[in-house]
Symmetry: C2
Subunit: 197 residues, 2 copies
């Protein structure tokens, strides 16, 4: 039996990276759960920011930002960056985070986050008091200790990314692998619909 | 030490709901990992679809779609809906999924998915061969057995949502709670930066 819960801004699960705007001279960062991949070619990301966010102003100045994926063990600093405004305090310094130069854009990366994307803004969509910022992903970086044996691909188990659950306001870690994608679906055929259950 | 991996369309983790387009008479569905919340007021969702997708054509006909969050145990049907085209086969029937009427929009919900959003398209953004579809979330539904004791909020542990990991092509389940959001960050103060480590 389903129950109607009304219009909702919840989806399960969500990532929770730290997004940085600005330059080495003046940067700010915040935690963004409302973010996802927006295209495959060119690879792009979209994220929803309140139009009053300090980091949004910094992103608009340079047209660039970085997305920095934290480990589950970094929940406290991510939460701090989500509940504090950078107008009054140097959040990175307060949280003990190190901003380091990227390779392509002028906006710095968060050194302590093991996976990082460098982005250039391509679109902005106004939605109520939010701005959906779309950016092309022009470079990605990973700590060597989260790469699989090929040395070119992130191992999600080693990354152990932070997971956010809206509504119940929980941070979680990733659970075990339950199936192989682009593979287990082949066990379902139009002639044996009972296999789908 | 960080390694440059080049432009990438990966973010960790991702949700993997089934998105339905069309009506009771003609509907199709697909698995969409490139999806996220796009605004809080009005609550909105954005998702990236290839411009050639059959479901996109159906969404455009009515200007509506639904987002249906599966349990981790439903990985096989989700994967099937991701790797099969609805041009040639009735995917819902083949996968043993039941399409049921929503409350607000004409596009049906997937009965077997325990959490569902009804959406109306508000924006489309063309990005290369992808279309970023933005929709206002006009209603949400949850199975009673995934609600917490208040009866009004989803319990993520009971929902046990499917998690997708791009790159390594894995489906995973959710791991344990590691911290309380809007709370653990308060343990970090500007005067004690060493606490952030």
């Amino acid at each position: 039996m389903k129950r109607r819960l009304g219009p909702s801004d919840r989806l399960y699960p969500m990532p929770c990276p730290l997004v940085v705007g600005g330059t080495a001279e003046e940067a700010d960062l915040l935690a963004v759960a409302w973010i996802g991949i927006a295209a495959g070619s060119p690879p792009s990301v979209s994220m929803a920011l309140r139009d009053s966010r300090h980091t949004l102003g910094l992103i608009r100045r340079t047209g660039e930002f970085t997305v920095n994926v934290p480990r589950a063990s970094q929940a406290a600093v991510v939460d701090y960056c989500g509940i504090t405004s950078g107008r009054d305090v140097d959040k990175a310094a307060a949280a003990g985070l190190t901003l380091v130069p990227g390779a392509v854009v002028a906006t710095p990366l968060v050194a302590e986050c093991p996976y990082n994307l460098e982005c250039r803004v391509t679109h902005e969509v106004d939605i109520g008091h939010y701005v959906l910022v779309v950016g092309e992903i022009v470079e990605s970086h990973a700590d060597e200790d989260i790469l699989d044996t090929s040395g070119t691909k992130v191992d999600a188990g080693l990354l152990d990314p932070l997971v956010y659950i809206a509504g119940s306001r929980e941070y979680r870690s990733l659970g075990p692998v339950v199936a192989e994608a682009f593979s287990i679906g082949r066990t379902i055929g139009a002639r044996e619909p009972e296999q789908a259950r």
